[in-house]
């Protein structure tokens, strides 16, 4: 009982203190973060739990966009743009196309899941992984010190074309090969 009273006290005191030092920008920041993060997680869950795979795909796109918004919120504007373009655009289209090409019948139950046991096991495993990662995040005494490195796009361009030009070129080859490979595989599938 006492503990409860204590909590109530604290709540009241907090309300007062809130009035005292009302840090608007920080709260807005928090609001934005929680809004988009929450939405992203919600949509992510939608990817998994929608019965209709098209809905899942749309949900995935929504997740991507929410994440892009988060990027924007911490100043990674270029990254946000890439996210929207590549994920929200290209990948989503690819996926929807794939769905259309591999499924021509009723979409109602087009996103089946494994059995109950598998869900339970997956939940345990996922939970363990999550708690591990959370523990890692919490146990690490990061000394965060946000700073501005200037505009992201020029900074990235600078890196990409000087420091990391080689990976950049290799990534080009990678995309080329992925394209060729995808064509070959898909073509092979067609020519039955």
């Amino acid at each position: 009982m006492d503990a409860l009273l204590g909590q109530v006290h604290a709540l009241v005191a907090w309300a007062f203190s809130l009035a005292n030092d009302y840090d608007v920008p920080s709260l807005i920041e928090a609001g934005v973060f929680f809004l988009f993060a929450g939405l992203a997680l919600l949509f992510a869950c939608g990817v998994i739990f929608f019965r209709n795979v098209v809905h899942s795909a749309l949900s995935l796109t929504a997740t991507f966009i929410c994440v892009a918004c988060l990027y924007l919120s911490i100043g990674a504007d270029f990254m946000g743009a890439v996210q929207i373009l590549v994920y929200g655009g290209a990948v989503a289209v690819l996926i929807v196309m794939a769905i259309m090409l591999t499924r021509r019948d009723n979409m109602a139950h087009s996103n089946p899941s494994r059995g109950l046991f598998r869900h339970a096991a997956a939940a345990v495993l996922t939970g363990l992984f999550l708690s591990g990662m959370a523990a890692v995040a919490i146990l690490s005494p990061f000394k965060s010190a946000p700073q501005s490195l200037g505009d992201a796009a020029p900074g990235l361009a600078d890196l990409m074309l000087s420091h990391y030009v080689l990976p950049f070129e290799v990534a080009a080859v990678l995309l080329l090969i992925a394209m060729i490979g995808a064509i070959v595989l898909a073509k092979g599938a067609e020519e039955r």
Partner: protein, 114 residues
């Protein structure tokens, strides 16, 4: 024990840990999907979720930690490229599977075992 207030304070001061936890959860959701979905395409979507989650990590570190260039974001960009390639190949393979098996459910893929 932490009081509500401190908790709230902690929650409202959005920082690195928020993003780390968020990305961990997103990753976990993707992982959960990867383990439970049947269709190949939903599985690919889940993979994308996981890769995306990691990107959030990278971008967040790049923003919050005392670093002097954008290499974290760059890494994320490369990861996007890789993810895109992966999904392209994955989709092509989905066609293969669909052709061979008439379905894209991976639980039918057990020709090889033991």
């Amino acid at each position: 024990m932490m009081s509500f207030m401190e908790l709230f304070q902690l929650a409202t001061h959005v920082g690195l840990h928020h993003f780390l936890l968020f990305s961990a959860i997103l990753f976990a959701v993707g992982l959960f999907g990867l383990l439970t979905k049947k269709g190949l395409i939903p599985l690919l979507m889940c993979v994308e979720l996981m890769l995306n989650a990691v990107n959030i990590n990278l971008v967040a570190f790049n923003h919050y930690m005392p670093v002097y260039d954008y290499s974290g974001q760059l890494m994320a960009i490369f990861s996007v490229a890789v993810a895109a390639s992966e999904i392209a190949v994955g989709v092509a393979l989905a066609f293969r599977i669909y052709r061979d098996h008439g379905t894209v459910n991976v639980d039918d893929l057990d020709e090889m075992k033991g």
